[in-house]
Amino acid sequence: MEDELSFSDIYGGRLALLRRYYSPSCREFCLSCPRLSLRSLTAVTCSVWLAAYGLFTLCENSMILSAAIFITLIGLLGYLHFVKIDQETLLIIDSLGIQMTSSYASGKESTTFIEMGKVKDVIINEAIYMQKVIYYLCILLNDPMEPNGISQVVPVFQSAKPRLDCLIEVYRSCQEILAHGKATPTSP
């Protein structure tokens, strides 16, 4: 079963959270970031081309114009493929692990899977980000050396940056599944 809720990120942009409950032991949360706005794209392209035209009137070399077009195209492709994240997904499966997927605007997907044996806990933490104090959800990993220690903190939804209300929803579901996993003992 799936449902969609609307939240906002730390800058006020609109985010859509799609929750899918596959089974009591498997849930998926999909956060869609705001798309690339036409306004900013037009603004950047116009400024680059104006600068190139200005240089052209100074130097009278038409290579500058072709170079500007080339740079704009390559820059846009690179931005879509390496920088702009469209959707971030968190899939939590009881007794298997937690999987985080980021899908970029060009269709590329990058996935990280953390096994349940390494996960210590999922928490909401505070951080100072530029001039703001923000909340972020993160996964704490076990330290094999020290039983009570933490070896790594893995933040989730790093590019979407949702606000606390969205994080609380995700946090509650994750804790339900983690508690369910800890409660059921290993069957004989």
């Binding site: 009591p24 032991s25 899939l91 009881d94 899977f113 096994e115 996993g181 004989p188």
Partner: protein
């Protein structure tokens, strides 16, 4: 804990039968390796499993039954399958069932020993995870988990989590050797059941590699014996050989070739990858070198190069002479001490004159020498680049000499100045205690000391200027040589085979796994597809980097600046085994 059943994708369309695989109790998961079809004799199945267990040290057992229902429901088969649970007892007993032509699966587990309790795992508590057997068999996890102890029976605690699945499939090769064309007693269904995969080229290469390795190992041992003979240990030759980067590069390549063609088999996967990477790197090097050779020897380019070399050397010398004339005058408006200026300037000008005479003496032989050096490109592009770097070092030897003279003079001056400055203030350097102590000097000591101090201070700008100019020139030459060395290092250490493997067969190098949830219906078990997450390119390069010559600059920027300020000589390219100055 939820029960996880890892099911190979190749068996999803197989006929009904028994499930054979390994049960991992710590993770409550069953790894299905193959399906045994009807008809079979239970004794023979048990014998086969015992054989496989002995050969692969994996606890293979019958885990349950698999039922692939056709159009007409077969009730008798259902009861028969349940009865099999009594013959092959396994705890828990899995019953996987699939309706023909639909995506609906059902999975039941029964525990015989434990009586069914109200909150026993029902159908909702089973997860089916599909995996591609061939890819999981061939893939290698990074970081590699600790190798299971081969002496012990099953690998239990040493492989954690999903690495246990990879390990089980990789070690059960004995089970996958029979295909459906075999006249065996037991019919199995697995990834190779349509025919065992093999490649003629690979088999031929394996057969040929033995004698080829022996031959090359013999040749290489002859070469290394020749290079280790006593002649090369005598002083002039050993000194020159240690300074030339060509010798270092040739030695490095010889080591690599000896490693590749050694008759010992590679012990583990990482050694095999190293050998493969080295071989591909050597082959690429030789291919690039031969391209360079064909380019050089066509259209009389060597003649053109030789003709251009002497005028270039002349031009460099002329520019240096102009520079010295400028320094001997009033450089940048600064006023130099006339006498010292003239002495230093004339000294360096005479050196340049000697150098030019030497170059002109050599000029008839240059073309021959260049032609023979060009032949060395067939040994590899890295060797030609090292020779180029050495030629640059030899042609700019006079700059190096000037730098050493300037640096030594400057260093002496700085030492003298610091010691006399201490005398000026009434202090002394205590060598025993390694610190500055106060000291009372006599009047005549103070007088002479102050006089010398003044002289040195007023001569400082001249010496400092010469030192600055020649250090900058030397640094320029060092930068050019450094760039060439960087390129050689890149060719030496880039793991091309690993990169090619990542490009063409991404499942071979895996950083982990990723899951995809397949169509799900409430009441049915959750179905997931497990795929291999390939290793990102930067981690491939980082993990499989070949060791290079190790000619990295050993100074940080701070210590470099300090050495430059105090006039100590800098040797940026320390080779391995050189003593520190």
């Amino acid at each position: 804990m939820v029960l996880k059943a890892f099911f190979p994708t190749c068996c999803t369309s197989a006929d009904s039968g028994l499930l054979v695989g390994r049960w991992v109790p710590e993770q409550n998961s069953a790894v299905v390796l193959a399906v045994v079809h009807f008809p079979f004799i239970p004794i023979q199945v048990k014998e086969l499993l015992a054989q496989v267990q002995q050969a692969s040290r994996v606890g293979v057992a019958v885990l349950g039954t698999w039922c692939h229902r056709r159009q007409e429901p077969e009730e008798s088969l259902g009861h028969f399958l349940e009865g099999l649970g009594a013959i092959f007892s396994h705890e828990p007993w899995l019953q996987l069932c699939r309706e023909r032509g639909s995506k609906l699966w059902s999975c039941k587990t029964t525990h015989r020993q434990v009586p069914t309790s109200p909150n026993a795992p029902g159908e909702d508590q089973v997860m089916l995870i599909f995996y591609d057997q061939r890819k999981v068999l061939l893939s290698q996890l990074h970081p590699p988990t600790a190798l299971p102890d081969h002496q012990a029976g099953d690998a239990t605690a040493s492989t954690q989590g999903l690495a246990a699945v990879f390990d089980t499939v990789a070690r059960s090769e004995a089970l996958f050797r029979s295909d459906r064309f075999d006249e065996g007693l037991v019919r199995l269904s697995h990834w190779q059941s349509e025919g065992v995969e093999a490649s003629i080229i690979v088999e031929l290469a394996k057969q040929a590699s033995g004698p080829v390795c022996l031959l090359f190992a013999y040749l290489l041992s002859l070469i290394s014996a020749a290079s280790a003979c006593r002649v090369f240990k005598l002083w002039p030759l050993s000194f020159i050989c240690s300074k030339l980067s060509t010798c270092e590069q040739l030695r490095h390549r010889l080591e690599q070739l000896t490693f590749i063609f050694s008759t010992q088999k590679a012990e583990n996967a990482s050694q095999l990858m190293r050998k493969a990477n080295m071989l591909v790197s050597v082959l690429l090097d030789v291919a690039l070198g031969l391209t360079l050779l064909s380019w050089l020897h066509g259209k009389d380019r060597i003649g053109q190069l030789a003709d251009a070399l002497v005028p270039v050397a002349d031009w460099v010398a002329e520019e240096l002479q102009h520079l010295l004339q400028w320094l001997m005058g009033a450089p940048a408006g600064l006023k130099m001490n006339r006498a010292l200026d003239q002495v230093l300037g004339r000294f360096f000008l005479y050196h340049i004159h000697l150098w030019i005479s030497y170059i002109h003496l050599m000029s008839p032989f240059i073309e021959r020498i260049l032609w023979h050096m060009g032949l060395s490109a067939c040994l590899g592009l890295t060797v030609s680049l090292s020779i180029l770097s050495d030629i640059i070092a030899l042609l700019t030897f006079h700059i190096y000499c000037f730098y050493v003279y300037g640096a030594r003079l400057y260093c002496l001056k700085i030492c003298g100045l610091s010691s006399l400055w201490r005398l000026f203030r009434g202090k002394k350097w205590n060598v025993l205690r390694q610190r500055v102590d106060s000291c009372s000097y006599d009047l005549d000591q103070l007088f002479i000391g102050t006089l010398l101090f003044t002289i040195l201070v007023f001569l400082l700008p001249t010496t400092a200027l010469y030192y600055l100019v020649f250090t900058l020139l030397r640094l320029l030459v060092v930068t050019v040589q450094g760039l060439i060395h960087l390129l050689v290092d890149l060719i030496n250490s880039l793991p091309l085979y690993a990169l090619g493997l990542r490009l063409c067969r991404p499942y071979r190098l895996s950083a982990g796994v990723k899951f995809q949830v397949l169509e799900h219906e409430t009441g049915r078990p959750l179905r997931l597809l497990m795929q291999i997450n390939p290793l990102p390119y930067n981690r491939v390069v980082h993990t499989y980097r070949l060791p290079s010559c190790g000619c990295h600059p050993k100074h940080s920027w701070g210590s470099l600046c300090r050495k430059l300020f105090f006039g100590e000589l800098i040797y940026p390219w320390r080779q391995r085994g050189d003593k520190q100055d």
